[in-house]
């Protein structure tokens, strides 16, 4: 069958399993309980010495025991969240065709903590180089390691689109199913806090030493964190045939670039508005059908005001009625995994009719005058969620999840 035929018959892609590792929990239910209760996972880092770093607080995966065998921590996050997603979906190794099952992972820094050894060796004129270190220079190494551990023999791919990575992985993986190249795909983002990433992100001066306070007048930048968020996507017919619990449909997605500046968003959020419109068009939905927006909401001055402007551009007067949250207020900014962890929250919002709050919200900003679900969760039936993300270099990605009727 040709791709054109496949698209005309358009296979529906659904979420049947999810797995998460982050600073407020290393399982989906622990994570969900914490974010619905408004609990923060931001604390002083303790994995490496941060006394000589600009920023000392962040969102480490506190409950996660680092691997004793030297396996890269970021890769282990991706593997753990992937295993959870498979278990959650009830997919034992004998329950699927490996050749039709694949994975798309996305990251900012991948297994840099392992790869850095290769940089050390070059600097010290050592030869030969460590093979695991060399392998880790390519992000594909993590995708291949997870695929191998879970016996996935379909398409195994990697993307890197800065902090829009997780959503981009979900969108691309959904397309692989939609176009008939796979029947099930694990998809999402992963990243670990390492000295390398921490020094670089601190140098950009996008992090605060105070609280992360999205959409608040006194917001003073973001706080980075680590983990992985992985979704199991399946062709709906196959999921139904095996009696899977269907959590939501991946209704549509978009990924674009601001084409504006490496570090600053467009002045009026044009790129963010465009990516939301791409996702709506892909889903064949109108703005009126979106009940909730899980925002990128980093807590930086520029993101929150331009994202607000973009939401107004796309949703008009309805922008004021749609509950918008930023769970980054609790879990921090999980780098390449941010939007896939937020995708998991989006799906759980549909499942449980609960919208987690944006905590640390105190003072309204005239430029950010929408309903940000301040400080306390709200209970409301939600049929469709738009999950927004953006990153350095002007990358944006949005995914829409919809209740399956």
């Amino acid at each position: 069958m040709s791709v054109n035929d496949a698209n005309e018959k358009r296979r529906s892609v659904v979420v049947t399993g999810m797995g998460v590792v982050c600073c407020v929990g290393c399982s989906v239910e622990d994570f969900w309980r914490a974010v619905c209760a408004g609990q923060s996972g931001i604390r002083p880092l303790d994995r490496f010495d941060v006394s000589n770093h600009r920023i000392q607080k962040g969102g480490q995966a506190w409950g996660f025991a680092p691997p004793a065998d030297g396996t890269d921590l970021a890769t282990v996050f991706a593997l753990a969240a992937s295993q959870q997603a498979m278990q959650n979906a009830g997919l034992a190794p004998d329950r699927f065709d490996p050749a039709r099952a694949g994975i798309v992972l996305a990251t900012n820094f991948g297994a840099i903590e392992t790869a850095r050894t290769a940089f050390d060796q070059i600097r010290n004129h050592e030869y030969p180089l460590s093979i695991p270190a060399f392998r880790s220079l390519c992000f594909q190494s993590t995708s291949k390691d997870v695929a191998s551990a879970l016996s996935l023999a379909g398409p195994v791919s990697s993307l890197s689109l800065s902090c829009a990575s997780g959503n981009a992985a979900i969108g691309y993986a959904a397309d692989l199913i939609r176009l008939g190249r796979a029947d099930m795909m694990l998809a999402g983002g992963f990243d670990a806090i390492t000295e390398y990433a921490w020094a670089g992100l601190s140098a950009l001066k996008t992090m605060t030493t105070k609280e992360i306070r999205p959409f608040d007048l006194n917001r003073s930048q973001t706080i980075f964190s680590e983990g992985a968020g992985i979704l199991l996507l399946e062709d709906r017919k196959r999921a139904e045939a095996r009696g899977a619990t269907i959590l939501a449909e991946v209704a549509g997605h978009g990924m674009n670039n601001n084409g504006h500046h490496m570090a600053h968003p467009c002045p009026n959020g044009e790129g963010t508005a465009a990516v939301m419109q791409m996702a709506l068009a892909d889903a064949g939905m109108t703005p009126n059908e979106i009940d909730h927006i899980n925002a990128h909401g980093t807590g930086t001055k520029l993101n929150d005001s331009t994202e607000t402007a973009a939401i107004k551009t796309v949703f008009g007067k309805r922008a004021y009625e749609i509950p918008i949250n930023s769970i980054k207020s609790m879990i921090g900014h999980v780098m390449g995994a941010a939007s896939s962890v937020e995708a998991i929250a989006s799906v759980l919002t549909i499942r449980d009719s609960v919208i987690p709050p944006t905590i640390n919200y105190e003072t309204p900003d005239p430029e950010c005058d929408l309903n940000y679900v301040p400080n306390v969760k709200i209970e409301r039936k939600v049929d469709a969620v738009l999950n927004n993300s953006a990153g350095i270099g002007g990358c944006n990605a949005a995914v829409i999840f919809r209740r399956c009727g």
Partner: protein, 321 residues
Amino acid sequence: MMAERIVISGVGPVSAIGIGWEHFANAVRDGLCGIGDVTAFDVDGCRNQQAGEIIELDVDGYLATEKNYLDRNSELAFAAAKLAFDDAGFHPSEAATDRFGLCLGTAYGNVDTQRSFYDLLIEKGPKFVSPFLFPHTYSNTSASLLAIEYSIRGVHANFCSGSAAGAEAILYAFDSLRLGRADVMLAGGAESLSEVVFKGLDSAGDERIPGEGAALMLLEPERSAKARSAPIRGIIAGAGAGGSVDAAKGLALADAGILEKRIDVEFGPDQAIDRMVGHTTGASGALAVAGALAVIDKGCFALVNTCEPGGVCVSIVLERD
């Protein structure tokens, strides 16, 4: 409904055997080899001392605006983009920017800048690393810089799937056009020759000779290419991706609606292009597509198979009218 054909209306190859379509295509037809002794860094002690290195690349000639700093990977991508636009007679400033997209593939991205940044971290400490260098360390830096340079605001993706990355970028650009998400796409791959990757491959006993290069191409519906009198280099008849060469090839042939016996030329990295330019990892699939377009005769089909072992395989069926 007969879907409109998607054509490659311009190609920008940057390689050890030639820079720009004419040089590259002639070199491929003549079977030239651009592999020689490495000059970019010291290779004493390495088993292999050769690579498909691009010795003379004057990047300034390919930039629309002045740059303070570019990683080698970004330089190659910038050169390939400008060459592709010029070959296609395409003026990016005239495109509707939100319908104009970019898919890039690169296995190691800006790894040399990552290394420079890391060296600063070790030598000076975390408070004294360069905020200027850090944004150039991302895998998506080259794609982002191109998007900014040319206001490419539509579909945007950056693949890091090893040796399949460049072909996967072309595949997804092709899909994006067919799905109606974009009107014109710039797609392909870029990979620089970096000391750490070269020595890593050598340490791992990889027998392929490394290379560097980039190939970006402009993809669009046949009608818009013809309206601009672009020199159509080929038609993408079909494409597929899977976990094995057989799976990818089967899907690509089905997508093209042809049987394997109709294929006249197979021109993948392993079959041909790597012997001329070295193995260019994330660029290899895109350079293989460019190479296939150089050798395919009118009325014939070419098949490009690109595979990242244990990862993703991508097959692309090309046709010339």
